[in-house]
Subunit: 217 residues, 2 copies
């Protein structure tokens, strides 16, 4: 927290995991400061001793709040949900909550880790695009099928939930990696609806304090 | 559910994600049946049309329960926690719950996806061992450091939590991939304590209905 007591979000403009948390903070109206951590500058600022002391995972996002520091986007969002429950990001019904968490985990454990920066470094320059595309397509094939039975206006019914906070940033990654979204009408429709919401707009990678001038919109 | 109304767990004996759920079912004393899905036989039984209809993610575990089918191990465990709260797998205190979820996500999104079967197939035979080791070592470096501030007898304090359900199966994977555990005294100590518990013993990969005879113990 800052001296004023505000939570601090350690974030990178393009990080889809950071974006999930930025949306949660915006939706819940939690006043906070953003501390940008540049994932490629200086060999990666997340590797600094100072940042590692804060988050041994050497990843963004991390949120300093209420005297603790939490890493992992879903753990952060669940904590915000438990301590700042309005508006809710999980439905009341346990079965619908299970759908929200299943979709969230499918994206955060089943897709994103396979196409993130550190893994793409390992697979070599020329393999990066097909590698990332394969991970996203495999995940989206499953996701589209699941959403066909869970979705209303949003991923699960007609209320924005944690699943939607995972969806929009993953679609942005898909677009960055030039994945054809034609086979995914439900994903595309929900994404479009989400991007029109204020909380998704203010938290968008193109509107962050660390967004480079040429990518701002 | 079976005709008798018992939940059905679709599981593979060696799958660390399946083992997490088997421990939860055992700890909570939830009577269930196990339906083995062999991940390599017949080209992978998870790819059958029948199983895909059940779980479009083409992965184990999946749990049929209360008229729904849930995929993703943590989503399943959170559902069990909400509908069968005794004994609890999450602490009462939101800050400790955040620690449990952070550790769980670190393992389930930060380590396991990078060393699972489908990814190792992609990296080629001769790269599999170093690839898996690198993912596990990187994650365990962070985990050891985090546990030094959260652990009591178990990952977070002195009660078994969802984090422990993720830890033991990941250590088993580390051993299978010949990772030197000497640098991880806290991880090793907790793992040893966990493996002595009845719920971890009955759910162990060496004691499943689909465990091959030569691996049984």
């Amino acid at each position: 927290m800052t001296e004023s007591g505000k939570p601090i979000l350690y974030s990178y403009f393009r990080s889809s995991c950071s974006w999930r948390v930025r949306i949660a903070l915006a939706l819940k109206g939690i006043d906070h400061e953003i501390m940008p951590i540049h994932l490629t500058k200086d060999g990666g600022q997340q590797f600094s001793e100072e940042f590692q002391a804060l988050n041994p995972m050497k990843q963004v996002p991390a949120l300093k709040i209420d005297g603790i520091t939490i890493g992992q986007s879903l753990a952060i969002i669940e904590y915000l949900e438990e301590t700042r429950p309005t508006p809710p990001l999980l439905p009341q019904d346990p079965k619908k909550r299970a759908s929200v968490r299943m979709i969230s985990d499918l994206i955060t454990a089943g897709i994103q880790p396979l196409q993130n920066l550190s893994v793409l470094k390992e697979v070599g320059q020329e393999n990066q695009l097909p590698w990332a595309q394969k991970a996203i397509i495999s995940g989206f094939d499953a996701l589209e099928r699941i959403l066909q039975s869970t979705a209303g206006k949003y991923c699960v019914g007609d209320q924005v939930s944690m699943a939607d906070l995972c969806l929009a940033p993953q679609v942005a990654n898909a677009e960055r990696f030039k994945v054809d979204l034609t086979p995914y009408p439900t994903i595309s429709r929900i994404n479009k609806t989400l991007l029109a919401l204020e909380a998704f707009r203010v938290s968008h990678p193109c509107r962050q304090p660390d967004t480079p001038a040429e990518l701002r919109a």
